[in-house]
């Protein structure tokens, strides 16, 4: 197996593990971590695609995807902190656990 193929399989595996986490877990922080994993899988795919084709477009995209991940997690975690301040540790679980 060539090195590119191995990395591609790794990126698909990362994406699928992340997807499983988003579907199975109910905790907001775990879901955010899982989305990170999916985005990193996409990043790896972008960089590997570049190596195969021999361009740099995908690497530029990968930097953008990093920014996307950082911005979304920053807002998500900020919101978790806001909820903890508003309702305390006990009251916050019903919101962060995504219960109705």
């Amino acid at each position: 197996m060539s090195i590119e193929k191995a990395y591609m399989l790794l990126s698909i595996a990362l994406f699928l593990i992340g997807l499983l986490g988003v579907i199975v877990r109910k905790n907001l922080i775990t879901i955010l971590v899982s989305t990170e994993l999916m985005l990193n899988g996409i990043n790896l795919a972008l960089v590997i695609a570049d190596r195969v084709i021999g361009r740099v477009d995908g690497q530029i995209m990968a930097f953008f995807v990093l920014t996307v991940a950082a911005a979304e997690v920053a807002v998500g975690l900020g919101l978790v902190v806001a909820i903890f301040r508003l309702k305390g540790y006990e009251g916050s679980s019903e919101i962060t656990q995504l219960r109705d």
């Binding site: 795919a45 695609a49 995209m61 909820i83």
Partner: protein
Amino acid sequence: MSLEGFVEGTVYTILAISLIIPVIPAKRRSLITILAAVAAAIAIIGYGALFVGAATREPIVFYHGLVVHDKFTAGLTFAAAIAAAISLLAMGELATEWPTHPAYYSLFSLILFGLFYLAGAADALVLLASWLLVSVASYIIIALPPDPESKAASVRYIMMGAIATIFLAFWVALHTGIGMQGFFYKPYTTSGISAIAIVAVVAALGFKLGVVPFHWWLPSVYGKADGKAVSLVAGVVKLAFIAAITRLVYVISTNMDIASKVALFLAALAVGTMTYGNIAALTTRRLQLILSYSSIAHIGYIFTALAALAYFAPTDPKIASLAMGAIAIHAIAYSMSKTPLFSLTSEFKGLKGLIKSSPIAAISATILLFSLLGVPPFLGFWGKLYMFLAAVKYSIPLVLIALINSGISAAYYALAVRDILSRNTETEKAPEISPGVEAALVTGAVITIIFGVIAPLILHAVSP
């Protein structure tokens, strides 16, 4: 000075205002509000000039083709700026009472800035970046009001947003993988990777717009968060997303083979979306929830026209252009109605007795609801008429389903109107309504009537 230079200048001024607002001391409330109003005014002038420019000559190209505004996208951007001004009018100084108060006004300007890029994106990178800018600003705006309901709504919104962004990033990866950088380069083919790319991008935008089966978040965000925050997200930001998806559908439908498949996919989504939205809206009597479900239904109507656009894009540019103009008119009608009505719901939970506290607001709200229902001569009627005229060329059963759905929607709109016009209130005293919301309702109603009268002219101005 060239038109491009003028528009870019206004866009950067709006960005500057958005960056200045957080620096101003929090106690200078009126200054902060005035600055946000100035940003809205600049946006209306700048995007108005963009629209006039795009309507009278060729599409306007910015940044060497990274952002391209044609009649359609420029019209929607201009309408979004007007809707943002209405939303700010309803909000007034109220957001200064929120715990983090300059944030609302700063993010309001940031959204106005992002609309320009999101609606006009002609490159995968610009789409991803502006998508992120606008989405993150809307998550925070939903989370800003002090009540726990808004925080819970924002949690759902971020969850959904993260998934939508991942689908978009996935599309970007495939899009670069098949060797396309700008939108307008090589056509999509019928290969497997193109099919996955198309499904990914429709899923990303479907999540954002609340298309069935990606709709589960929408009622708990639009229906539970503070109405004035929702009015900006539901009425203004959505226009830019509609512009983005319309352009993408136009771009991916390059040949007959692929266009018919895309059209079938969109038509199936349209049927599910409008049927779910209209039937779910019958189950509630709370105006904010009715409006959220009707938001889903209206995206369904827009998808019927999108299906026609996809089908006719490669073969018959005339019908494709009619479909695009119809989508623009309907989206404008939707935005002009939803923005003030969502603002109203934050003050007026029950609706009964609105005519007692303010007859003019009650009449305006009635006009806006009738426009959503599609009663002539209001703008919503023309939107539906042109959309169905375009869609009937594609598939008659699809239009029949849309018409039946439109009939179902009459039930809940009529009940809401009856509540608004009834003089019996639940309490002794009719609830108060703030002058800002009253002004927003009247402005929305006046625009709906005027645009309704000149709708054929607007169709000509926005269809490319």
